[in-house]
Amino acid sequence: MRVFLKCGCFCFAAVVLTACQMNKAVYERPLIDNDIILSSESKSSTSESYPYSIASLQPQQRPDVSSLEAGLWMSVEKAEKKSQTAGNRVTDKKLNDYVRSIVCRLAKEYCQDIRIYIMRVPMFNASMYPNGMMHIWTGLLLRARNEAQLATVLGHEIGHYLRRHSLQRFKTYMNTSNSLIFAQMALAVAGAPAVGDIMNIVARGSLAAFSRDHEREADGYGLLLLAKGGYDPFEASKIWKRSIREAKADKKYSSPSIFNSTHPQSEERMKVLNDLAGRVWTDETVTTGLDEYKSVILPLRASFLRDELDQRNFSSTEELLEILIEDGANLSELHFFKGEMYRLRRKKGDLDKALNSYRESLALGNPPSVVHRQIGLALRRQGDAQGAKDSLKKYLELNPDVEDAGVIRQIIEESEE
């Protein structure tokens, strides 16, 4: 039994090693034959020196109906039908049109092959499906500072599509799961307990190693498409810098587990993308698209922030709010949410911090209408009955027709009893 367990561990160490040997070259590849996406008469993109030998998809290319790829597309089409009417799809037309326009600016002749679905999920991510369905999470829209940073991620996802990464991963997974079941049976016969789990980790590890290179390659595409789309390529590494700050603020953050993360470490991405940005820099005028981004995202930001608070990852949310405050857009709203974060967190001293943030929000002149109500609730919890009453009354005075006026009056009356 011990022998088998060691074997398991060794395998997984081996997987780690191969993963770590991959380097900058994978990021650079799209930059070397960068005409695959941009010229209409695309050349075959297979290259012998390259580990993956699947050709890139051509514009409007559909897989042959008898192929494994067609089966994969069919399954995803069913998932896409669900996505179309999913409960958390964001249907705001202005937002959808805006993101779509960025995708087209990046994907050019592939524009019509990619369909976007903005999903209300408060995490920093987007994902690409083999058939051209792209999911964009609202947590990404909250975290990108400008259009160029959003485009970095969108371009990365387009890279996955072109390079058919899902198909490659699916094939590997099929092969891995095939060999796994025989290994598991052999181990089960030998009487080794819990080996299923170890084998699973090995399988997951090798899958992750495979896909980390996909991520690197997709990053390269993202950078290339960013530059060709007329955006400032130096924005690419900045979104990773922000993500690293947030991750480090999380109390549970330790060195990220290689098995739990299919993505290369953010530090590596940040550094390589910054190094390569100069290579794709063009002399033409580049933009970050800050004003356009703000005009579309800011009206929706409060709902994204509310979802973020519901995650209750307060340490990282605190840092995220810090980053957004440094960006400086609608500070009054940000300080209000900072107050909300402290009020909900309930750690020692948080009520004082909450009150300070609410007052900062007020001082900045443009707070959400419930700010006086929240000040009242915080003061009440601090035991300041009079202060609480005054703030709640002020809330009613400023918002006489508010829906919750009845219960607020009830709270005031109870405090007088």
Binding site: K82, G87, D307, N313, R409
Partner: protein, 192 residues
């Protein structure tokens, strides 16, 4: 609970506890913790720890959740991670210093965590039942699959404990089917 629908989750938790018992119409029944009510129609009852769930046609179609005297530090409704028995620790807890406004906020966070999408709360207002001044509100949401549901809730804070009756059902047919019964259940509430 990100990968499933709230009601499916509740169904899974509850079904693990040995099925449903009949709640007879017209008879007063103790839901638990000295909380009594009298339904007009037959319901089916199931429970998971402190939470009691009633349904007529299955929890995916319509359900009443009774929160019967949550105390400081209790979850409003325990949320399990992906239908397992592991409790989701990222769900806020009831605190004895909460006002009705903060309970509405607690409800909102809990339901969102249970998978409710685009949850909208409306008409938060004072409401008296069980001879106690409490509060009510309505809500609407989509399941993760996109089925539209509506709900109505009554709650009271009594002796630093929280009692709630949370009704919800599919917008088509099922919400209306149980709504009158829910009103009767709220009107006939007794909390000793």
């Amino acid at each position: 609970m990100r990968n499933g629908i709230f009601i499916i989750l509740v169904a899974t938790i509850l079904s693990s506890c040995g099925g449903y018992k009949l709640v007879n119409k017209g008879k007063e029944i103790e839901v638990g913790n000295s909380m009594f009510t009298t339904p007009f129609n037959d319901w089916n009852s199931s429970k998971d720890g402190d939470v009691v769930l009633w349904t007529m046609d299955g929890p995916m179609l319509q359900q009443i959740i009774f929160v019967k005297g949550a105390e400081d530090g209790d979850y409003l409704i325990p949320v399990r991670v992906n239908g397992t028995h592991t409790l989701d620790k990222k769900v806020p807890k009831f605190k004895k210093d909460m006002t009705s406004i903060e309970v509405v906020e607690l409800f909102e966070s809990t339901f969102k965590r249970l998978g409710a999408q685009n949850l909208e709360i409306s008409n938060v207002r004072p409401y008296e039942a069980a001879k106690t001044k409490g509060f009510r509100f309505e809500f609407g949401f989509l399941t993760k699959d996109g089925l539209a549901k509506s709900g109505s809730t009554y709650g009271i804070l009594k002796n630093k404990r929280l009692f709630m009756v949370i009704y919800s059902g599919a917008n088509i047919h099922y919400y209306d089917k149980g709504k009158e019964d829910f009103e009767g259940i709220v009107r006939s509430l007794r909390i000793l």
